[in-house]
């Protein structure tokens, strides 16, 4: 056990070192790309927090990403607040919205929840899309001013990296805490959880709000990286794209969505240079993954490790089979 932890620390340090030196050895575009990947990865991880660990069908998660970004952008550009205040308001707005939508949907179960959630999310999109004076309508808001320290690509890169690492750490701790265990218990068996006295809806709502908050954080990071917001950030297709990321990387694994985000974002970047039919390519990838690799890349890796008796069977890394309803 000691040696295993030692290995993980070394692994983490190597990863951190690679990320730290990346901006000095890579062209500027790739630095931007890494920042985009970790931002999208944070979004996908926050989705996996409710979907993979909570078993809640949060089909339209990107709406909180969009609201986080728009919250910051509107505070900065329309209401002329200090950018740092905008950065705090964004995630809080996202958390608040996730509480409201969560309260409306939470009484429904599984698929009903998902379908209502995706529809209400698209209502938010429609409002943002039409409210020209406040949100810039379909143009969005561009050239958002950020604090001076974040204006350089390297500054925004490190800021993004630190915030993502911190967010991932917090989510990981939450999942390892008793709350996380209860959440996964609810996922695995709602009736039993109720029987031992767990307030199922309250735990699910808290999970939804936490995930919404971190999706909002990801939205703010997008503002930092790209200095712009647009309504497509909260369109339902993006929500399903980040669900695909979680699926490709591996549900029920903590780092799977991050890996999936890297795979999908890189794939999009390179496929888009060759053809305009990126959606077709993504659809085919999704089809193949669902048919042949439903446990995802990381899930498959853990499965192989376990078969060889190498892996730990930690809760977060545990891959689950189908059918947990």
């Amino acid at each position: 056990m000691e040696t295993a932890n030692y290995k993980y620390v070394i692994f983490a340090l190597v990863i951190a070192a690679i990320f730290a030196v990346a901006p000095f050895s890579l062209p500027r575009f790739y630095v931007y790309l890494i920042a985009l990947i970790v931002t999208t990865g944070l979004l996908s991880t926050s989705l996996n927090f409710v979907l993979g660990f909570g078993g809640i069908y949060q089909f339209h998660h990107a709406v909180f990403y969009g609201v986080g970004a728009y919250g910051a952008a509107v505070m900065i550009m329309k209401l002329n607040y200090n950018p740092w205040i905008g950065f705090i308001v964004g995630p809080l707005a996202a958390a608040f919205l996730s509480l409201v939508i969560g309260l409306i949907c939470i009484r429904l179960s599984k698929l009903y929840f998902g379908m209502l959630q995706i529809s209400l999310g698209s209502l938010v999109w429609a409002i943002v899309y039409r409210w020209y004076t406040f949100t810039g309508g379909d143009d969005g808001i561009h050239g958002i001013s950020v604090p001076p320290i974040l204006e350089s690509p390297i500054g925004s890169y490190y800021f993004t990296l630190i915030v993502v690492a911190l967010s991932l750490f917090i989510m990981y701790r939450i999942l390892k805490a008793p709350f996380g265990s209860i959440l996964q218990g609810i996922r695995d068996n709602v009736v039993r959880s109720q029987a031992i006295g767990v307030n199922v809806r309250r735990h699910q709502l808290i999970a939804i709000v936490i995930a919404g908050f971190f999706a909002g954080v990801a939205g703010v990071l997008f503002v930092v990286v790209d200095n712009s917001v647009f309504p497509d950030m909260m369109f339902w297709t993006l929500s399903l794209e980040i669900t695909i990321m979680a699926l490709v990387g591996g549900w029920y694994t903590f780092l799977g969505p991050m890996l999936g985000a890297a795979i999908i974002v890189l794939l999009r970047t390179f496929v888009s240079t060759m053809t305009e039919y990126w959606a077709l390519a993504l659809g085919l990838v999704l089809l193949l993954v669902i048919l042949f690799l439903p446990e995802g890349v990381l899930g498959k890796v853990f499965e192989i490790w376990r078969e060889r008796g190498l892996g730990r069977t930690g809760e977060a890394e545990r891959t689950k089979g189908t059918d947990y309803a």
Partner: protein, 298 residues
């Protein structure tokens, strides 16, 4: 008295009629979605894409037959059949192999088809707008209380009840309908008495998709046929199915009525954000009846 006269004003009446013709399209699409959801339990988000393909096929067919009345009727007939054929291939090729997966996997699988169909439409028809001419027979408008109401929308108002009745007969009076209703309740029992459930699933899926194509073909003359017309419609269809009760065709009718009317009146009351009204109605309905107005089949 003031409110009463306002309700009876020609503008509002005309808007209600417009809302009802919108209801017809919503009902035709949503009933197909509901059918598939009720029997196969697939939340088919690609249903909107099939609606879009139906509209594009209607465009091509009506062009092929040189517009006019013949072109229109061929479009209304052939476009849904084309969509049904497409769905048949997809069902036999892929869906029939994965029915035992989790809902979320099936949901994502249908999303894969949203992506694929969207790009295929872009490849075949291109990204620009298309318009299907209203056949000469349906052109023009009839005066109602001084307002002019398009004849084509009247035709839609007739189509709605017709489709509803045919669907009722299909589900309640035919053997296949009875089997599919039984399969919705207890699939294993149906298989146990020696019925080929897979074939029943396939026919229900194809009929549901046919309805999506029919909705697309019927709506084609009054909207711009374009990429992205699937995106908003599928969300509306989802909501309709939820407030109606999953799998319940009459629920889909009721939901479409609520949605179509609140939508058209919402635009009248508050042009910019009238779109909020149907959603508000949905939230009100669900806070009293979380599983929809009518009994869901599962």
């Amino acid at each position: 008295m003031d409110i009463l006269s306002a309700i009876c004003s020609p503008v509002v009446l005309c808007q209600i009629l417009m809302g009802l013709s919108r209801t017809v399209i919503l009902f035709i699409v949503a009933s197909g979605l509901s059918l598939i959801l009720g029997v196969l339990r697939i939340p088919n988000i690609a249903h909107g894409s099939l609606y879009m393909i139906g509209a594009f096929m209607a465009y091509t067919v009506s062009r092929l037959f040189g517009g006019g009345i013949a072109g229109y009727w061929m479009a209304v007939l052939l476009a849904p059949l084309g969509v049904a054929l497409l769905s048949f291939v997809v069902e036999r090729g892929i869906f029939s192999r994965v029915y035992d997966r989790e809902h979320i996997m099936l949901f994502l699988l249908t999303f894969a088809f949203v992506l694929v169909f969207g790009d295929l439409v872009k490849m075949v028809w291109g990204a620009e707008y298309r318009t299907v001419p209203i056949p000469p027979f349906f052109q023009g408008a009839i005066p109602i209380l001084g307002m002019r109401f398009p004849i084509y929308n009247f035709f839609l108002l007739l189509m709605g009840p017709l489709v509803a009745i045919l669907l009722y007969l299909l589900v309640n009076k035919t053997k296949m309908g009875k089997i599919s209703r039984a399969a919705a309740v207890d699939m294993e029992m149906v298989a146990g008495v020696g019925i080929n459930v897979s074939r029943v699933f396939c026919s229900v899926f194809v009929i549901g998709c046919f309805l999506a194509g029919l909705g697309g073909a019927l709506v084609a003359p009054i909207v711009n046929v374009s990429l992205g017309m699937d995106h908003t419609l599928i969300m509306e269809a989802f909501l309709i199915v939820i407030i109606g009760g999953l799998g319940n065709i009459w629920g889909a009718l009721l939901g479409s009525l609520i949605f179509g009317l609140t939508q058209s009146l919402g635009i009248l009351i508050w042009p910019q954000f009238g779109i909020v009204l149907p959603y508000a109605a949905v939230i009100v309905v669900l806070s009293f009846r979380p599983t929809g107005l009518l009994r869901s089949t599962w």
